[in-house]
């Protein structure tokens, strides 16, 4: 038996004037999974998420969100979805407690006080509950926002770049939290620019200029790209990058830290382009498994 789908939409389309922001996107997320939503800025991630939770009306497309028609029953869907906006969108001139209390009231939660107290305790913010939300640091704001989205026990979480501008430790904690929620059966669709976050997802989808162009597990997406990558490290590697760019077989050359990644779909051509530098002293060349980022840069380069 296949797992029921939390999100099952086909042909999702949104137009802003002349611009096609989202073009016939199909997404099917099984319940309880964590899906990563990747793509460059302006590729349509936020628009897609907003359509799923009823904040934007779709120009075309059909399907269900939590078993409900996402176009007609958006009000019912809203009650079961937790949506975390890209920019902190709780009230900065309300205290932490007042923000949680407001959300609990709007959703009409029973045992409101208890629920808010519990949440404050889980967050570890009991002592700071009367502090204004605007005074919190980026990491705390994001934790508060997640807690507020979770207050009404949604079955589906839509997170729009939740970890942008958050420090590495806070990011890790945040992802541990997401995995814990997923363990409790909550479905998560999270957009991100971070590869390490993408690798923590069950599946990823990659959207570019409104088109969904890759999907699957990280390994599948990498395999589907049919990409070969060589790593070049050592003295004079910076000068080499200029020479290799545009060489036959080299589709792109990019630095990852100190290492230069040379990628292309034709392995032999790539090897030939690197051949003249094989024996340069101090330069170290080896073939490597392409990373997810290699694949994404490749996909983006291909499109331009």
């Amino acid at each position: 038996m296949t797992q029921p789908l939390a999100i099952d939409v086909r042909g999702l389309t949104k137009r802003f004037g002349q611009k096609l922001a989202v073009n016939g996107v199909d997404i099917a997320v099984p319940e309880g999974e964590v899906w990563g939503f990747l793509g460059p800025n302006g590729s349509g991630k936020t628009t897609t998420i907003r359509m799923l939770c009823g904040l934007l009306s779709a120009d075309a497309g059909e399907g269900t969100c939590l078993g409900l028609d996402f176009r007609k029953q958006s009000e019912t869907i809203k009650r079961q979805v937790g949506y975390m906006t890209q920019r902190f969108s709780f009230w900065e001139d309300l205290s932490i407690r007042e923000n949680l209390d407001f959300v609990a009231r709007v959703y009409g939660l029973p045992n409101r006080k208890m629920k808010v107290n519990e949440t404050l305790e889980q967050l570890g913010l009991v002592k700071r509950q009367h502090q204004l939300a605007g005074e919190l640091s980026g990491g705390w704001k994001q934790r508060l926002a997640l807690a507020a989205c979770m207050l009404h026990d949604p079955r589906l979480l839509l997170l729009d770049e939740p970890t942008a501008g958050v420090d590495p430790k806070a990011r890790r904690d945040f992802w541990d939290e997401i995995h814990m929620l997923s363990g409790n059966g909550i479905t998560v669709l999270v957009s991100t620019h971070y590869m390490d976050e993408a690798e923590r997802c069950d599946r990823i989808v990659y959207i570019l200029n409104g088109n969904l162009i890759a999907r699957g597990s990280v390994a599948e997406v990498i395999a589907d790209a049919h990409l070969f990558t060589f790593l070049v490290e050592g003295d004079g590697v910076r000068a080499l990058s200029q020479k290799l760019r545009g060489a036959p077989g080299v589709e792109y050359a990019a630095f990852f830290g100190a290492a230069l990644h040379i990628s292309g779909r034709d392995r032999d051509a790539l090897a030939r382009a690197l051949e003249p530098y094989r024996n340069t002293p101090g330069l170290h060349i080896e073939e490597s498994q392409p990373s997810l980022e290699d694949v994404f840069i490749h996909l983006q380069e291909q499109a331009t």
Partner: protein
């Protein structure tokens, strides 16, 4: 000296130019603001330039004639041809004329008593009774000055032949003026209750015009929309607190009116507080509508002022309502402040009852319903 030199050495015209250019570009980008900066002064110049008249003419007048004689007819005829008076009602019942004055339908009642002609012919110096609504003392002063002159010259033609000697005694009758509701013509009696309406208009519209605009500017609007609150729920929730604020303001102003300015309060304060609720809600509804339109707080503020100016100038607060041309009165009749001024002056100074203020209460209710409906229709449930 060296400080000045240093100042000029540090000063860079190029940097001023950079800031200048940036401001011009930003000014041009915000089309609505730019259009308002250019358009509003022009519109207002013409509206107010033509509408405001400090020497109001065509004041609505009722005449109560209890005398069929020739002099009464002459007087009526000359009142009719006069610029100052617009006879809207001719009756033989002084009671009915007085009721029109109470309800604010007329500003003047000219009462020609029984046997006016007879007494005049006999040389008995009959009385010509003029009652005027002095709630706004300024509105009727010119017309009052005119009426003596008018009456005397109107009768001059008739007082010929054997009666010519009657016109020599100048005037041949006694013009008795009753300044009703405000017999001492105290300006505060008119202005202070009026300020109640003006201040409420200003603050209520301004506060609510920011209601949604602020949420939109701060990015919390998206969050609010993603929650299961309906537009009506949001609107009521955002408006009700300010009804309370409005009541606090009203209480302060009325207390000052009573104990500082000594404004008489003849009518029912309960009735006044009920109409206050409607008036406050009407203004909040309008402000809320503005906030569904304005993209930023700057625009919300401009809309508020665009509304506030005609409210002050065309409502009868600053200038006599009856002195304005018909088209300006039509604009004035739409404004809630116009009706509220009549109500508050009516209740406080004239002791008006619910029945008497009803003609001005239903326009307020209508305005409130209309702005509420527009605001709800404009409230977007999505970010489209």
């Amino acid at each position: 000296m060296s400080a000045i030199l240093r100042f000029f050495r540090r000063f860079s015209a190029a940097r001023v130019g950079a800031v200048l250019m940036k401001e011009f570009i930003q000014m041009r980008r915000d089309r609505l603001t730019f259009a308002m900066i250019i358009g509003i002064p022009v519109v207002q110049l013409f509206i107010f330039g033509y509408a405001i008249n400090l020497n109001p003419r065509h004041l609505p007048t009722a005449i109560a004639i209890d005398d069929p004689g020739i002099f009464a007819r002459s007087l009526t005829a000359s009142l009719r041809t006069s610029d100052y008076f617009q006879i809207v009602k001719a009756t033989n019942s002084p009671g009915e004329a007085r009721r029109l004055l109470d309800e604010g339908d007329v500003t003047f009642v000219v009462e020609i008593p029984e046997n006016f002609t007879r007494d005049l012919v006999r040389g008995a110096e009959p009385q010509l009774l003029v009652e005027t609504d002095a709630t706004d003392p300024g509105a009727s002063s010119y017309a009052l000055a005119a009426i003596n002159q008018l009456a005397t010259s109107a009768l001059a033609r008739d007082l010929s032949g054997p009666l010519a000697m009657r016109s020599a005694t100048n005037p041949p009758f006694d013009v008795v003026v009753h300044r009703l509701y405000n017999p001492e013509s105290i300006t505060q009696y008119n202005v202070v209750p009026g300020l109640l309406g003006v201040i409420l208009t200003m603050t209520m519209v301004l506060i609510t015009s920011m209601a949604l605009t602020r949420e939109r500017e701060r990015g919390t609007y998206e969050n609010l929309l993603s929650m299961p609150a309906t537009p009506l729920e949001v609107m009521i929730g955002k408006i009700v607190p300010y009804i309370l604020v409005g009541y606090i303001q009203a209480t302060l102003i009325l207390a000052a009116a009573r104990w500082v300015f000594g404004v008489p309060m003849l009518g029912s304060l309960t009735l006044l507080s009920l109409t206050l609720a409607v008036f406050i809600a009407a203004n909040l509804g309008l402000g809320y509508t503005f906030s569904t339109i304005a993209q930023n707080q700057m625009q919300a503020m401009q809309m508020t002022f665009f509304y506030f100016l005609p409210s002050i100038l065309l409502s009868g607060f600053m200038f006599p309502f009856d002195g304005m041309p018909a088209w300006a009165r039509v604009i004035g009749e739409i404004l809630p402040l116009t009706h509220f001024l009549r109500i508050v002056r009516g209740i406080l100074l004239k002791g008006n009852t619910a029945l008497e203020i009803w003609p001005n209460l239903w326009p307020l209710l209508l305005f409130m319903a209309a702005t509420g409906a527009v605001a709800l229709a404009r409230f977007r449930r999505t970010l489209d």
